[in-house]
Amino acid sequence: MHAAGFAPVRLIQTGSETTLANAHLPSFSCALARAVTERMLRGDLDFLHGVLFTHTCDTLQCLTDIWRMSRPRFRVLSFALPSVLDVSPRRAPGPSGDATGAREYMLAELHRLADTLEHGLGAPVREEELCASIALYDEQRRLLEALHARLDRLTAQQWWSLSISAMLMPVEEHVRVLRRCVDARGIAQNAPGGPKLVLAGALLDDPLIPQVIDELGGRVAGDDLCTGSRYWDTLVDGEQEPFAALAERYLRRAPCPCKHTTREARGERILSLVRNTGAQGVVLVLPKFCDPHAFDAVPLTRALDAADVPHVTLETDVSAPAGQVRTRLQAFLEMLQA
């Protein structure tokens, strides 16, 4: 999309008041679905050329069509990502081989998207621009990774702002900001010396949790979040043809609960994150009505228990009072310091 000349912005949950969306979604839809639908219905998103829904969960799958049917003049594109990920060598049938055709399928979908952008929106994707966009986004990912090597210098809120802004700011500007921050002189030693935490879950689109962590003297040592390390942790292979390289990167990304993978379990990834960062505990951020994360929370907490890693689960919802999050986090941090 960037190569076609668009500035991609991720839709996140801003605000929790929903009135219009209540007539379009039942009560058991997640807060993200409700909040973004509310904004779309209010016309707050009319400044966009359109929205691209990628297939992740059952809820977003429904949202694609709900938006198409409830406001036909708002342009809705869909991208049906594969749900089964495998990273093994090409065309090697067998238990570890990519015999499932996911690469070919992903590549065809990428070309179909480029075709839609060109013929539907008059914005062709040329190879040269695509390579430049890939390089730019890879630089952003490298800078985010470098920033994570310096997390001891950042407060939780600074970490959160720099992570979430990757989803919202034009990538060119974000890269400039990151460069300044990664430069050691760019950031002061702000972070307190309290317990180090790993945050894991879906999106962290609300600043409440980082705010509370700062107030209570905690630190973020690493994350496994959709708006965090799962966004930046895999680079595009610059040697390959750009579309093929994008398809390849997608299949190699860190496991998300929405995907089935035969690779390492998410629990192992989080445990190694805990070991590598020296974190004392894990905070699981679980949005209410988020089925993939709710299922995964069970084996995940079991894996943490088995490894004697303290953890706390924070269920977030539009109706979840901030006081509850604070109390639970406070108790958790006190337990870690005891």
Partner: protein, 402 residues
């Protein structure tokens, strides 16, 4: 009301025996055949042709729901950390696996392999992952991308590639081979079954309708769990003969049919008769539904895996809301429907989240009113008896006045 509110089918006894035989034989009479757990939208024909027996955790959960045993099993899953907001089929099934005390038929027999296809939902993948982890069973997940814009050639090739992998997977895990002739025969039997089911459903276009929603829901079990077998074909032949006789005799499913309704979503299993009787009191019969019809799609004969892939990739629940609205509009016209009822099912997000949009579209296009009822297919704790009754009464009274 003195007279019974539904007419029992004579084939009900056959159905009961058939299902008992199915579950008993899966446990005791497999004669060395490996056992697969499969999702309702998985291409079971391939397994049958390879000599693998199959059981359906979804059907098992529905059965627990109908026997009002699901709430206890859901509680057992919740005690192990599964959120009460998750699908109640999944919680019932996981409850029976993790703490099967009191589970009907002592739960399902242990699987040798598990096959899940996400053409019905993403939940089934997470649920079967949990079952596979528990039993240490090999698991194959088939990815059938959702069709917002119809079936693309690349999507079809992707599904075909996975079915080829499925054959290799079954061969690796069971050492059984796929025989092309056997596959063709299984496809033929499956088609015979689905055609009979389609014909039985079409008989409900008659006035009065020979079947009501509970009949459709109860009798769909063999099409799900025994599709591709001789016994399912025999059952549906018998059922069809009885339903045809009802049509010839002008016998309806309910004592007096005044209103003809369309149902959308999975049944409320624990209140199957009680719920639909609320409508019978207003002389309303459900003559069609969107759910049980999902199993009336035939496979193109002679097309092998390609044909199976095309059919399973395009099932009803894997298609856009626009497709679903068009289907309902068509059913309303073909079956002479005066109103429709949508079960907003807390357990089934892919079926339920879009119902508000579909309801609006169908009402606009047909002028036929639609009612939304929020409940749950298996978890009786989510059923608000009085609220449901009031909504049904208000809807039926306005329908009677119209």
């Amino acid at each position: 009301m003195t007279q019974p509110r539904y007419r029992k089918l004579k084939t009900a006894n056959h159905l009961q025996r058939l299902m008992q035989w199915h579950y008993a034989s899966a446990r005791y009479l497999r004669m060395g055949r490996p056992l697969a757990w499969v999702s309702s939208g998985a291409p079971v024909e391939i397994l049958r042709a390879m000599g693998v027996a199959a059981v359906y955790p979804e059907n098992y959960s529905a059965l627990c729901g109908a026997q009002r045993q699901a709430v206890g099993l859901c509680g057992a899953a919740e005690a192990q950390g599964y959120s009460p907001d998750l699908c109640s089929y999944a919680r019932t099934s996981l409850g029976s696996i993790l703490d099967g005390k009191g589970a009907p038929m002592h739960g399902l027999p242990r699987p040798d392999l598990i096959v899940a296809c996400n053409n019905i939902c993403g939940t089934v993948v997470k649920w079967f992952e949990a079952a596979a982890a528990h039993y240490q069973s090999p698991l194959l997940v088939l990815d059938a991308p959702f069709l917002h814009d119809g079936l693309q050639p690349s999507t079809l090739s992707y599904v075909v590639a996975q079915l080829e992998e499925m054959v290799r997977f079954v061969q690796r895990t069971t050492h059984q081979r796929l025989d092309a002739v056997q596959l063709e025969e299984t496809v033929r039997l499956a088609n015979e079954c689905t055609e009979l089911w389609g014909e039985i459903r079409a008989l409900c276009k008659s006035r009065p309708s020979p079947l009501n929603a509970p009949d459709l829901f109860v009798n769909m079990a063999p099409i799900v769990v025994l599709r591709g077998t001789h016994s399912a074909v025999r059952f549906y032949q018998r059922l069809k003969a009885e339903v045809e006789q009802r049509v010839r005799d002008g016998v309806g499913a309910i004592p007096e049919e005044k209103h003809r309704l369309l149902w959308d979503n999975i049944a409320i299993w624990y209140r199957l008769y009680g719920f639909y009787n609320l409508f019978v009191d207003y002389k309303a019969c459900f003559v069609a539904d969107t759910y049980t019809g999902a199993w009336s799609q035939t496979l193109p004969p002679g097309a092998g895996l390609q044909g199976i892939a095309a059919a399973y990739a395009t099932i009803f629940l894997n298609q856009s809301l626009e497709y679903r609205a068009a289907l309902m509009v068509r059913l309303i016209s073909e079956y002479g429907v005066d109103g429709f009822v949508m079960h907003v099912n807390r357990s089934c997000k892919p079926y339920s989240l879009g119902q508000y949009a579909v309801r609006r579209a169908v009402m606009e296009r047909t002028g036929v009113p639609g009612l939304l009822i929020e409940a749950d297919m298996c978890d009786a704790r989510s059923y608000a008896e009085e609220a449901v009754r009031t909504r049904v009464q208000a809807f039926m009274e306005s329908l009677a006045e119209a």
